[in-house]
Amino acid sequence: MLRYAAGRLVSALPVLLIVSLLSFGIVWIVPGDVAVEMAGPTATAEELARLRERLGLTKPWHEQLIGWYGALLQGDLGESILLRQGVGAAIVERLPVTLSLTFTALLIAFVCGTALGVLAAVRAGKAADRAAMGTALIGFSLPDFWLGLVFVYLFAVVLGWLPTGGYVPFTQDPLGWAQAMILPAGTLALSQMGLFARMTRAAMLEVLRQDYVRTARAKGMPGWIVVGKHALRNALIPVVTVAGIACGVLLGGAVVIESVFSLPGVGRLIVGAIQRRDYPVIQGGLLLTATIFVLVNLAVDLLYAALDPRIRHGRR
């Protein structure tokens, strides 16, 4: 298993190298720079030119590329021009927000989606199936930002149960953290919940037709044990694979949700940096996001192997 994990890690290095090159290149291709943001919307060309000089934005690209890789090899992602903070520190500061959001959403989506999928498979063709799949389809189809605003209006403005936005660290106030997370994580989870539900239903229907399930039933085993213990475990293998993809999608979706709910996460940091052309943050943020994505996929592969002994023993 260790060799397998090490091999996957080594194979990720070229991916990260390409990402770092692309993020540097994109920054150079996209018009505009941080001086535009800093100087303000009505700055004159002269004011901008002076500010660019002072911020060191006039250095040639190859000098900046060498500087970027030189620092990167020493584990330094550079310093944000606008935040007066190291990029690594800025990301680490916001990572708990994004990870809280993403993994809470993943948990909600996985648990609820799987439950819906199992229900739909067990009651295939009946009203419960149609209701579960209809719910999944609606969740899958509605845009995150719209759903978020509807939830804010309903649960914060009309009912007054939850805050409209903002973040409370778990270590500071666990209840406040939970209150702050319910709406954004719930919103983010809805779209992926549909995916999990549909995947689980399909996999369960396949498994429920297998001989060993029929045998278990023939032996008089209670239905919930047959479904929960024997069928679900096998049906989860493709669902877990989807979890890796869903995690990436949720990380992407977190960008929108963080803006709607005013959460100071990594997504908002990167989008803000793109809008304001804070180059070091864009480069460092993209590299780090790609790294997280690679690691999550690695974790999913390892989990996949743990669930299916044929994979860890190399017998696919």
């Binding site: 018009p31 100087a39 009505t42 004011e47 100071p264």
Partner: protein, 513 residues
């Protein structure tokens, strides 16, 4: 140029301003949460003209002169100024003030701050006429100019990129590297990017006792509320919801439809401000056929500006031709008015034929970061298509559009709201179209002359004439197109008392019930 008499009158007028409710400093408290869309690019007040920064920094920093409620320069950290008859020497007497680090403000701090502004200030050009700064004693600063510069006080009093007075120890630092230490009624506590800035009442704040009440960015600033949190909430719907639930007390701006919907909510108060800014269409004279004044006049004649304003502002607008606000010193009356909002398609087509237009593609540049920029460009594009123009709209994000407009190619028309410039008077507006890098990319001799006269004439009448001539030229040559005046709505919870809407949401003077 402001004479001693004018400055005395300004201070005198400020002294008799109605007080409203008595200012409470003792025993007052509470926390206010203000929400704004953008986060500040920096809190170094001198180096940015961004509204998102100004909303915060003008609570922390103060300037020698500031703008009063009507936008006129009045003393703030200065007691006043004596200007020599030749307009070359400005002698500022300083009032008592204390920095947030406990240090008393002296002339050395002022000198170092002005010098830093000349190096790193976003509007550093205002220090260009300065030859030397002397500090004969701790309470006096003498600024000597190389040549008369009647806009000098207007420049150092402008909130656009405030010429903030900071401790001498900080003044040697580069842009965006200073500690956030000012003399204002609130001191800086923390900045959490993507989340909030927190300020707290400065207990040792030295009020300006020359005034009885608040007056624009000057006056007697009484900090009643103990703590202020400025939250950055990018989503307009979330800001409105936060105001409705009471999580936020003040919104920097609320969407016009939302303001109309909530107008009858007894828990909320909507504060409409008109004018807030100009909606304009800038033209690139370096590109063909925009280099032809006849072609530009065709555009001027074709556009239905009222339709553009109605669509781009959600109905909160005023049709006005002036390149200065009415009621201010330099408003030029009806000059140019006959050429404003002509909306005559036949005339436009005739001018188009006369210009020799050969179906060249006209690139109309807008950005999606400011919704009214985008709406203005899209509406104007449709109108111009209707007279036979070959139009292509390019909508990008703000930095891309701005970066493009600094180029001499790649755009013909660009939508821009001018907010702070018309508020601060004629210097910024005229300056936008003149100098080494005018927005239209081609210098116009008449406008250059107007700018020279505005910046050097000691008599106010001459400067007024220069602005009037500028406005006439803007219309006659269709240098750019002013669409109209845009308003905004600021919003507060009803428990926020004594709130007076202004260029920024001012937290001094307000109380929390």
């Amino acid at each position: 140029m402001l004479t001693r008499r004018e400055l005395g009158l300004a201070a005198g007028a400020a002294a008799v301003l109605p007080l409203g409710r008595p200012a409470l400093a003792q025993g007052a408290g509470g926390s206010i949460v203000m929400a704004q869309q953008a986060q500040p690019p920096t809190l170094d007040a001198q180096v940015t003209s961004a509204q998102a920064s100004r909303n915060i920094t003008l609570h922390v920093f103060e300037t020698l002169f500031a703008r009063d409620e009507a936008g006129n320069p009045v003393p703030d950290l200065a007691e006043g100024v004596d200007i020599s008859p030749d307009g070359l020497t400005y002698r500022f007497a300083l009032r008592d003030a204390r920095f947030h680090n406990g240090k008393r403000m002296t002339s050395a701090d002022v000198k170092a701050s002005l010098q830093r502004y000349g190096r790193v200030g976003a509007s550093a050009f205002i220090m260009q006429p300065v030859e030397a700064i002397d500090t004969p004693d701790a309470k006096t600063v003498v600024v000597r100019l190389k040549n008369p510069s009647p806009g000098f006080i207007a420049g150092i009093s402008s909130p656009r990129a405030p010429c903030a007075i900071i401790p001498e120890e900080e003044a040697g630092k580069e842009a965006n590297r200073i500690e956030i230490i000012g003399t204002g009624p609130y001191r800086f506590v923390e900045y959490r990017p993507d989340s909030h800035v927190r300020l707290t009442r400065f207990a040792d704040y030295v009020q300006n006792t020359k005034y009885q009440g608040m007056d624009g960015f000057a006056g007697r600033k009484v900090a009643n509320v103990q703590d202020i949190t400025i939250r950055f909430v990018p989503e307009a719907g979330a800001r409105t919801a936060g105001l409705q639930t009471g999580e936020m007390h003040i919104l920097e701006a609320i969407a016009v439809p939302a303001a109309q919907r909530l107008r009858n909510d007894r828990n909320l108060v909507m504060h409409e401000m008109m004018p807030w800014s100009f909606q304009t269409l800038m033209l690139n004279h370096a590109m063909e056929p925009m280099n032809n004044p006849v072609f530009r006049r065709a555009l001027q004649a074709a556009l239905d500006l009222e339709e553009i304003m109605a669509i781009s502002t959600d109905g909160l607008y005023r049709m006005l031709h002036g390149w200065q606000h009415p009621g201010t010193t330099y408003f030029a009356g009806d000059v140019g008015k006959p050429l404003y909002n002509v909306n005559n398609k036949e005339r436009a087509r005739a001018l188009l034929r006369e210009s020799g237009y050969r179906n060249e593609e006209i690139i109309m540049l807008g950005d999606s970061s400011f919704s009214n920029h985008q709406a203005t460009i899209v509406t104007a594009a449709e109108q111009l298509k209707s007279i036979g123009l070959n139009v292509r709209t390019v909508i990008t994000d703000w930095p891309t559009a701005f970066s493009q407009r600094t180029q001499r190619t790649g755009w013909h028309m660009w939508a821009l709201m001018l907010g702070i410039e018309p508020y601060e008077g004629p210097y910024g507006v005229v300056g936008f179209f003149s100098g080494n890098a005018p927005v239209q990319h081609v210098r116009d001799d008449v406008i250059e002359d107007c700018q020279r006269r505005l910046n050097t004439s000691l008599a106010e009448a001459d400067r007024k004439k220069a602005v009037s001539d500028f406005q006439a030229r803007m219309y006659d040559q269709a240098i750019a197109i002013k669409c109209g005046d845009v308003g905004i709505v600021q919003a507060t919870r009803a428990q926020v008392r004594d709130y007076k809407p202004y260029r920024i949401p001012r937290m001094w003077g307000v109380t929390l019930a």
